[in-house]
């Protein structure tokens, strides 16, 4: 194959991807059943995989650890976002729409990223650092143990609990007399109950359903209670969510590339990844660089967690398991240890899974990821974007 032809072949998928993304951003694909629609669905899903895969790949790259607990950092981030959206009340700020909703989501993303990152820092210092010299099997099992621990702590912790929760849409508050008749959406009020055990339970009670008219009695009661006490849910439309995810991934990938290639910390990360002892001799505080890598990886996973849950509408302690596993596969597909590889692997997996489900079979979809994984491992163990395989002795 001539180099020019090879370059063309490599550029083609990138061009196709760019085309799909542009069409998505313009907003005319994703809602139908054409190839282009499925491609765009795959790109969105792949972008979420990529978010998580980046963390896997960074941690693997630096200490050769498959961090099975990464999916739980994702879950922790998702829950942080959940609580911010549900309880922070940012959407009550007196700003014109869509600012309150936008700010609520930004706060949720930030909280998610910080919580996930902090959790990763703690986990690294408490579990991974002490065991770094004990061999990789021990480290791997520690990671599995940590994953189980976080999952089950979340299940037992009353604030989170073992069941799945609907993802909260930001509440858009209104006054009783602002509710149109017939209603343009479901409207709710918050009611507090006291259970026999003395627990105070807050429930959203519907006041009027979409298309129905509010009875004057109810309107009067609500007005008597005063103020803006009814709300509807500011759900984001699917296209908004999808586009934001793709844009977020693009921003994160560029930012990460800049950080790793251009900054002092990034250079230290690459140095530690190649040769920890030599990096130490350069004056690099290896522990701190590893901690920073964990933080950064989990930071991205936290963003991915909010994106994922906002898209699929629920969150639970096992939220991180499936995306974590798929992202791990994506990281290996792309070449574990390689940052562009994680993005490419994530997008590749997302697109191929969805095309397969759409055009071949929904029944066998789940085996596809693993078959792809085996095929890539056998043909090109370092992945689609990995460097040539070399044994470090």
């Amino acid at each position: 194959m001539s180099p020019r032809l090879r370059l063309l072949l490599q550029a083609l998928p990138a061009l196709a991807l760019g085309y799909v993304v542009v069409r998505m951003l313009v907003g005319d694909v994703g809602g139908g059943t054409t190839l282009l629609d499925y491609l765009s669905i795959g790109v969105t899903q792949g972008a979420i995989y990529a978010f998580v895969a980046l963390g896997y790949t960074m941690v693997y790259g630096i200490i050769r650890l498959i961090n099975f607990a990464h999916g739980e950092f994702f879950m922790a981030g998702a829950f942080a976002g959940y609580f911010v959206l549900r309880d922070a009340g940012i959407e009550r700020w007196a700003l014109p729409q869509p600012w309150p909703v936008l700010l609520a989501y930004l706060a949720a993303l930030l909280a998610a990223a910080l919580v996930a990152g902090t959790l990763a820092l703690v986990a690294e210092a408490a579990c991974y650092r002490p065991i770094r010299k004990a061999g990789r099997v021990a480290a791997l099992l520690t990671a599995v143990g940590l994953s189980l621990l976080l999952q089950n702590l979340a299940r037992q912790w009353p604030a989170i609990g073992p069941t799945q929760r609907p993802w909260p849409a930001p509440r858009m508050w209104a006054a009783a007399d602002e509710v149109p008749s017939p209603a343009d959406a479901h409207y709710y009020e918050l009611k507090t109950f006291t259970s026999p055990t003395g627990e105070r339970v807050e429930r959203e009670k519907p006041v009027v359903f979409k298309g129905a008219t509010m009875t004057p009695a109810v309107r009067q009661r609500l007005a008597a209670e005063g103020g803006r006490n009814v709300f509807r849910k500011g759900e984001l439309s699917r296209t908004v969510v999808d586009r934001s995810i793709v844009l977020m991934l693009a921003a994160a990938a560029v930012g990460l590339w800049f950080l790793v290639q251009r900054t002092r910390t990034g250079k230290a990360m690459r140095a530690v990844s190649e040769d920890m002892a030599a990096a130490r001799l350069m004056g690099v505080n290896v522990d701190r660089v590893i901690a920073a890598t964990f933080f950064l990886g989990a930071f991205l996973a936290g963003l991915g967690g909010v994106a994922y849950c906002a898209k699929y509408g629920q969150v639970d302690p096992l939220t991180g398991f499936m995306p974590g596993l798929k992202a791990f596969i994506a990281a290996v597909l792309g070449g574990i240890g390689s940052i562009p590889g994680a993005v490419v692997g994530g997008l590749f997996l997302g697109v191929s899974e969805n095309l397969f489900a759409a055009e071949v079979s929904t029944e066998w979809k789940d085996v596809l990821a693993f078959v792809l994984l085996v095929v890539v491992l056998l043909l090109k163990p370092t992945g689609l974007m990995g460097r040539p395989y070399r044994e470090k002795v």
Binding site: R264, K267, A268, R270, A271, E274, D275, A277, A278, A279, R280, L281, M282, G283, V284, N285, V286, R387
Partner: protein, 236 residues
């Protein structure tokens, strides 16, 4: 400036150093010679903080540094060029050199040092954008030394700089070492298999045997010592 006293180092149950004492004064080149496994590299590693000593003391400028992690010692003016060079093959020559000045904040300062090191090793300037892995063995050794020099060390530890290099290149490297010592005033602790070359470059030398100092003297005296000549210089 460096004083090592009664240093004991063990890897698990294997004791590598049984109480080594040595000293390097400001501006000196001191060499450690000895057979394979005599503990030369281990001594360097204990000095630079890569291994923690089990007993004994390592003092740098009068302050105890035994057990201080390696990355902190860099700020105290110590640089270690490890055995096998250990350059970062995936990073460019420039990035390798910049990492050498990792502890230095301030772009201007790093740029100035880079210029200086490139003046010392013009061959590296030609290869500045190449990745470290594409360099020849001799160039890699220059890169390793140049990278260490980016930290402006007052004490430079060199571990087997001649390893795997052609004789012509070895001589070039040693000329550079002598020049660094002369022009920058850097104190150098040199571990070397090639005892003849090492002793001709150094001011003083120590002979290590099975983890102990067997002989210590000025380098010219060691070169003349019958024991050294018999054991390490291949003379009859």
């Amino acid at each position: 400036m460096l004083v090592v006293e009664d240093l004991v180092v063990a890897y698990g149950a294997v004791v590598a150093l049984h109480g080594v004492s040595l000293e390097a004064k400001q501006g000196e080149i001191v060499t450690l010679i000895g057979a394979n496994g005599a503990g030369k590299s281990t001594t360097l590693r204990a000095v630079s903080g890569m291994v923690a000593p089990r007993r004994g003391s390592v003092r740098l400028d009068g302050r105890e540094v035994g057990g201080v992690p390696a990355h902190r010692l860099v700020r105290r003016g110590l640089a270690h060029v490890p055995e096998g060079r250990r350059i970062f093959t995936g990073l460019s020559v420039r990035e390798n050199l910049e990492l050498g000045a990792y502890t230095v904040r301030g772009r201007a300062e790093v740029a100035a040092r880079l210029e200086r090191v490139l003046a010392l090793f013009p061959r590296l300037a030609e290869r500045i954008a190449q990745s470290g892995g594409t360099l020849s063995g001799g160039e890699q050794q220059m890169l390793a030394i140049g990278r260490a020099m980016m930290a402006r060390p007052r004490l430079l530890l060199l571990d087997e700089p001649s390893l795997g290099l052609a004789p012509l290149l070895v001589r070039e490297i040693f000329r550079e070492i002598a020049r660094i010592n002369r022009e920058e005033g850097t104190t150098i602790l040199l571990v070397e298999q090639n005892a003849h070359l090492a002793l001709s470059t150094a001011h003083r030398g120590y002979v290590l045997e099975t983890g102990r100092v067997a002989l210590a003297d000025a380098a010219p005296a060691l070169l003349e010592s019958p024991r050294v000549r018999a054991a390490y210089l291949g003379a009859t």
